[in-house]
């Protein structure tokens, strides 16, 4: 259903993918992560040919691209640290994590501000804390590209902003980050670049405020875009 999508995101950049429900945002991310296979044609991401015959092994892809699905939840009470350590799956050479893995995991947790929670079961954390733990897991994967599907879905404004800051921190470390969202304010505030998927293809791409300015008709609402006195941009349905 998606065709001819070509997106560029460079190291240290953040790009958000916008679109209506069912537009294919999640599909795009899963294709980029090599989890879905294309019906036809080729998928290339981070210079790697993904999927199909002769496709790369999953572990190889996971050393370059980290992907967090929207509904990631452990049913068993793993601690936050155990969950972040799972991010080392593709890098660990042994079945037990080394001191190096532990260091990487704790550094990632410090980065997303969840280090004090490391011994708590994931299931006992709030939604926002859980997302930041999972973000740390993606960070511990130590990849060039991080793909996040709806990272702020269901979060209250304070947690959404905390997550946005953590995402900025990841880009500050030279990683490229792509996320999908319905939260236009979050997109306007944190992502310098945006892409809008509509009618099964890439409809708009460019600086986020410009994309948002033209996005109204494609999203089915009239958007009012402006800046707060503090300079923070916003986008609200008029």
């Amino acid at each position: 259903m998606l065709r001819g999508v070509n997106l560029a995101v460079h190291p240290g950049e953040m790009l958000c993918v916008l679109g209506e429900n069912g537009a294919g945002k999640s599909t795009l991310l899963r294709l980029c992560a090599g989890i879905l296979q294309a019906h036809s044609g080729r998928i290339e991401c981070a210079g790697m040919q993904l999927g199909g015959r002769g496709g790369l092994a999953r572990a190889t892809i996971a050393r370059h691209i980290a992907y967090l699905p929207q509904d990631s939840g452990h049913i068993f009470p793993f601690t936050a640290l155990e969950v972040v350590l799972m991010g080392r799956y593709a890098r660990a050479r042994h079945s037990f994590e080394t001191a190096e893995d532990l260091q990487a995991a704790e550094a990632a947790m410090a980065q997303t501000d969840v280090l004090p929670l490391r011994h708590r079961p994931l299931s006992q954390l709030s939604g926002g804390e859980r997302r930041r733990v999972l973000l740390a897991q993606a960070l511990a994967q130590d990849t060039e590209l991080v793909l996040l599907d709806e990272p702020t879905a269901g979060l209250d404004p304070a947690h959404a902003i905390a997550l946005g800051r953590a995402m900025e921190g990841i880009c500050g470390r030279g990683k490229a980050l792509v996320f999908t969202t319905h939260d236009l304010n979050l997109a306007a505030r944190f992502a310098p670049q945006a892409a809008l998927i509509a009618d099964c293809t890439l409809a708009l791409t460019g600086p986020t405020l410009e994309v948002l300015a033209a996005a109204g008709p494609l999203l089915g609402v009239e958007l009012h875009i402006g800046r707060l006195p503090s300079g923070i941009p916003f986008a609200v349905p008029a």
Binding site: L68, I75, T79, F96, A138, Q141
Partner: protein
Amino acid sequence: MSAPSPTGPGPGPAFAQRVSRARFARVLLACLGLLVLSLLLSPLFGSANIDLGEAFNLKRPLADNPAARVLLYGRLPRVLAAATAGAGLAAAGVAFQALLRNPLACPFTLGVSSGSSLGAVLAIRLGMESLSVFGFALGELALPLMASLFALLVVGLVFWLGERGATGPTTLLLSGVTLAVLASALIMAVIYTADFGQTYRIVRWQMGDLDVMRHDLVLRMAVPVVLALLLLWPRARDLNALSAGPDAAAGLGVDVRRATRWVYLASSLAVGAIVAVAGPIGFVGLLVPHALRSLLGPDHRLLLPASALCGGSFLVLCDLLAQVVARPAVLPVGVVTACIGAPFFIGLLLSRGLRAKLWS
């Protein structure tokens, strides 16, 4: 130890302990010790009293020593069979729970044991033991082969249901119950058409006990079970990731299709082999993993081998109970596991606090 959390109960010590090489060795050594202890002690008791001093009297030839013969040919294979079956069922329970992301999944609740029984019953009814395939006589292998094949079929069906969204605990349980009812109806149909000799064998086999065990029967069960455990163990890290869902696991670098296929294959192999030899034994795959998860935490690298070892000890002890509780009669071991497992299972369904400790 971590500080207690501001919300809800503080995490237990198990949660603060990551699975390290040292802890892994320590815990498994303890579980192994428990298994060895139960293997050594259990044969000393039984439905009949034997003179233990006489049994270990090495001066007396074996042919002339009834006590030693009871120990060696009656009790030892029985204990070894219980250990093997318990290990396989508990490990399969752990694997099913992680793969289906369902804490109530086990060979019994999923209907795998029932399906496997149907395969075994069909093998008896169709006289498959006298068949030969490509010039190779099936013989006594017909029953385990059919049981394993049917276990695989049911697992395939469960997997197919899961792919279509039927993954919730209740949905899966209901489908398991449905499959079990269907299997027992079909078994009855098979019995109806069977002759007297076959019917007797089917009914006797269905009682699911570890009586009349022979050393070669134990070996026939142990080889596939050990093979299955060896196949499952390297997948423990995959199971950790898979318990967050297939997409999340794939994002971490797990080859989801391959891991899923191997885990299903290995679990079905184990369950099929166990059911074929020992008949259907319930609840081991549910009780042992949950008990250990609450003690050791959910990491499958530790949980899987620990469950296998403790599952073995558990069934050995249950079988011991089965022998001594109604002396001189010997109960089928399935009766004992059900009497312990059913209250545990109902408690699990009722207790919110217990549930919160074991899964989210």
